[in-house]
C-alpha cells in the first residue's frame, strides 16, 4: 500500500503545489495522474520515486517512509534514459548490473537479492521478447526508433521485477499509432500482472486507457485529491468501450473547471 500523508511541497517563490495532500493507492491498482502543465504531476511522481523530498509530510510504501529511490520501485521517464554507448541488451541489463555491483545492501538493491546471472539473462531476454525488441538486442539506442527506445527502457525497468511502477509521460514523444500500441501493451501488462502503477500524462485518452483511477490535479494548490473512478473497468479494448466517450467528456469537464467543483 502506498500512502501519501499530509504532503506539502512548493518550489521557491511560488505558491505551494501541494498542501496537506493525502492519498492512498492500494496494491494492484493502476493510477494515472492528469492535469495541465505546472500542476505538479511530475513533481508528485518524483516524490513517489524518492527522487525529490516533500517539504512536509511524507510518502509511505508498506509503512516505510520514502527518502531515496527504493530498489523495488521502477521508473520510466519520457526521455528513455538509455545509455547511448551500450547496446539494447546491456541497457536492459543495467539495473541488474547495478544491483550486482552493490550486492544485496537493501538501499541500492533489495536485501533479499539472489545473485543469479543466468536467471538475470533469461529475464532480460523474456522482457525484450515480450516487448517485441529481442531482434534489436545488439543495436545501440541511436539505431532504434523512438518507440523501440521506450520499449527498451520499459524492459530495463521490468527486468528488475518492481512491485511499484512509475511512468512519467512515457509515450508522449511517440507518434500516435505507436503510442496507442504501447498503451495497449502496458494496459495488457497490468491486467496480466496486477502490478501497482502510477502514470503521469497530459493526455485524456491515455489517462482513461491506463488508469483504473485517475487523479486530476490543478494548477492551484492541490489539497483535496480529485479522483475519478474509471468505469471502463477491466475492458481489454478500452477505446471501443461504449462508455469511453462519456468518460472522456467528464475528464475534459473536470480539467476545464475550477478546482472546487468535485467530479466524483
Amino acid at each position: 500500500m502506498i500512502e501519501i500523508r499530509l504532503l506539502t511541497f512548493h518550489y521557491p517563490g511560488t505558491q505551494p503545489l501541494f498542501a496537506d495532500f493525502s492519498l492512498t493507492i492500494n496494491r494492484g491498482e493502476a493510477w494515472t495522474i492528469i492535469g495541465p502543465s505546472g500542476c505538479g504531476k511530475t513533481t508528485l511522481l518524483y516524490m513517489l520515486a524518492g527522487l525529490r523530498a516533500p517539504a512536509q509530510g511524507g510518502i509511505y510504501i508498506d509503512g516505510e517512509v520514502v527518502t531515496r529511490p527504493r530498489p523495488a520501485t521502477g521508473l520510466v521517464l519520457q526521455d528513455h534514459g538509455l545509455l547511448p554507448w551500450e547496446t539494447v541488451w546491456d541497457n536492459a541489463r543495467l539495473g541488474l548490473k547495478i544491483r550486482a555491483f552493490y550486492g544485496p545492501d537493501g538501499t541500492h538493491s533489495p536485501a533479499d537479492m539472489i545473485r543469479d546471472p543466468e536467471g538475470d539473462d533469461q529475464r532480460v531476454r523474456h522482457w525484450l521478447r515480450w516487448l517485441g525488441i529481442d531482434g534489436c538486442a545488439a543495436m545501440y539506442p541511436g539505431q532504434l526508433s523512438r518507440g523501440q527506445r521506450q520499449r527498451a527502457a520499459i524492459a530495463r525497468t521490468l527486468a528488475l521485477e518492481p512491485d511499484f511502477l512509475l511512468m512519467d509521460e512515457p509515450f508522449s514523444a511517440l507518434d500516435a499509432p505507436i503510442r496507442a500500441e504501447l498503451q495497449n501493451v502496458m494496459h495488457g501488462f497490468h491486467l496480466e500482472s496486477g502490478l501497482t502503477s502510477v502514470t503521469v500524462t497530459h493526455d485524456i485518452e491515455e489517462a482513461l486507457i491506463l488508469g483504473e483511477k485517475i487523479l486530476v490535479l490543478d494548477t492551484n494548490t492541490n489539497s483535496v485529491p480529485r479522483v475519478v473512478n474509471n468505469e471502463l473497468g477491466n475492458a481489454e479494448e478500452r477505446r471501443l468501450h461504449p462508455e469511453f466517450g462519456t468518460a472522456r467528456k467528464r475528464l475534459q469537464e473536470l480539467l476545464g473547471q475550477p478546482a472546487r467543483s468535485m467530479g466524483t
Partner: protein, 250 residues
C-alpha cells in the same frame, strides 16, 4: 565501414606521399631536399641505433604527458560538466586560457620547475590538459539530468553512477581530445627538445643534424617524428573504434 578500406587508404596515402616527395626532390635538386630513396634506407638502418634512442625519448615524454594530463583533466572536466555553478565560476577563466599557445610559458616553466625532463613533460601536459578538460566538460554537461535520474532510479548511487555513466561517458571525450591534441603536443615537444637535453627527436633534428648540415640524417629524424605522430593518432583511433562502437554505427 569495412575493415579493408582504412588499410588500403593508408597504403595509397603513403605511396602518394613518397611519389610527391621524390618529384619535389628532383625538381628542387638541392641537398636540403634529399630523395626518399636516400632517406628511407638510412632511416631503416639508423632506427635500430642512435635514432631509435632519440625516438624512444620523445615517445616517453609524450606518453608521460598524456598520462599526466588525462589523470587531472578528466575528473576536473567531469566535475565542471556536472556542476553548473562551478562551471559558471571557472568557465570564463578556462575560455581565456584555452586559446593561449601554452608554448610561450616554456621559459617560465624552466625557471620554476628547473631544466629537467619533467618541465618538458609538464609543458606538453598543460596543452593536452586544456583540450581534455574542455571536451570532457562539454560531454559531461551533455549528460541530460533525465539520464542521471533514470539510472538513479535503477538503484545507482554515486559509485555506480561513476562506474556506469560518468566513466564510460568521458572515455570517448578523452580519446577525441587526445586525437585532436596529439599533433600540437608533438609540435611543442619538437621545440622543447631543441635545447637543454641530449636526447629526443627535436634535439636530433636541430642540433645533431640540421646545424651540422647532415640533411639526409635530418630527414630520418623528421620521418621518426612524423611516424610518432601518426602512430599515436592510429593507436588512439583504434582504441576509439574498439571502446566507442556506438559512435561508428549508423
Amino acid at each position: 565501414m569495412n575493415g579493408q578500406r582504412p588499410a588500403a587508404g593508408f597504403l595509397i596515402g603513403t605511396a602518394m606521399l613518397l611519389v610527391l616527395w621524390q618529384v619535389a626532390a628532383l625538381l628542387v635538386n638541392r641537398p636540403i631536399l634529399p630523395s626518399p630513396l636516400t632517406v628511407v634506407p638510412l632511416f631503416v638502418r639508423d632506427i635500430g641505433g642512435e635514432l631509435g634512442l632519440h625516438f624512444l625519448a620523445s615517445t616517453a615524454r609524450v606518453l608521460a604527458a598524456i598520462a599526466l594530463a588525462t589523470m587531472f583533466a578528466t575528473p576536473l572536466g567531469l566535475i565542471l560538466g556536472q556542476s553548473k555553478m562551478l562551471d559558471r565560476l571557472c568557465g570564463p577563466l578556462i575560455a581565456i586560457i584555452y586559446p593561449i599557445p601554452k608554448i610561450i610559458f616554456l621559459p617560465v616553466i624552466y625557471v620554476l620547475i628547473g631544466i629537467s625532463d619533467f618541465s618538458k613533460i609538464l609543458l606538453i601536459a598543460i596543452i593536452i590538459f586544456f583540450q581534455i578538460l574542455v571536451v570532457v566538460r562539454d560531454e559531461a554537461a551533455g549528460l541530460r539530468p533525465e539520464l542521471i535520474l533514470s539510472v538513479k532510479s535503477l538503484g545507482a548511487g554515486r559509485r555506480a553512477l561513476f562506474r556506469y555513466v560518468y566513466l564510460p561517458a568521458s572515455l570517448p571525450a578523452v580519446l577525441t581530445a587526445l586525437r585532436v591534441s596529439v599533433g600540437t603536443a608533438i609540435a611543442v615537444l619538437f621545440i622543447a627538445e631543441q635545447s637543454l637535453t641530449n636526447y629526443g627527436l627535436g634535439y636530433y633534428i636541430v642540433i645533431e643534424t640540421y646545424q651540422v648540415l647532415r640533411y639526409p640524417q635530418m630527414y630520418t629524424g623528421i620521418m621518426a617524428m612524423g611516424l610518432l605522430g601518426l602512430a599515436l593518432y592510429l593507436v588512439i583511433q583504434t582504441i576509439e573504434r574498439r571502446f566507442c562502437k556506438h559512435r561508428f554505427v549508423s
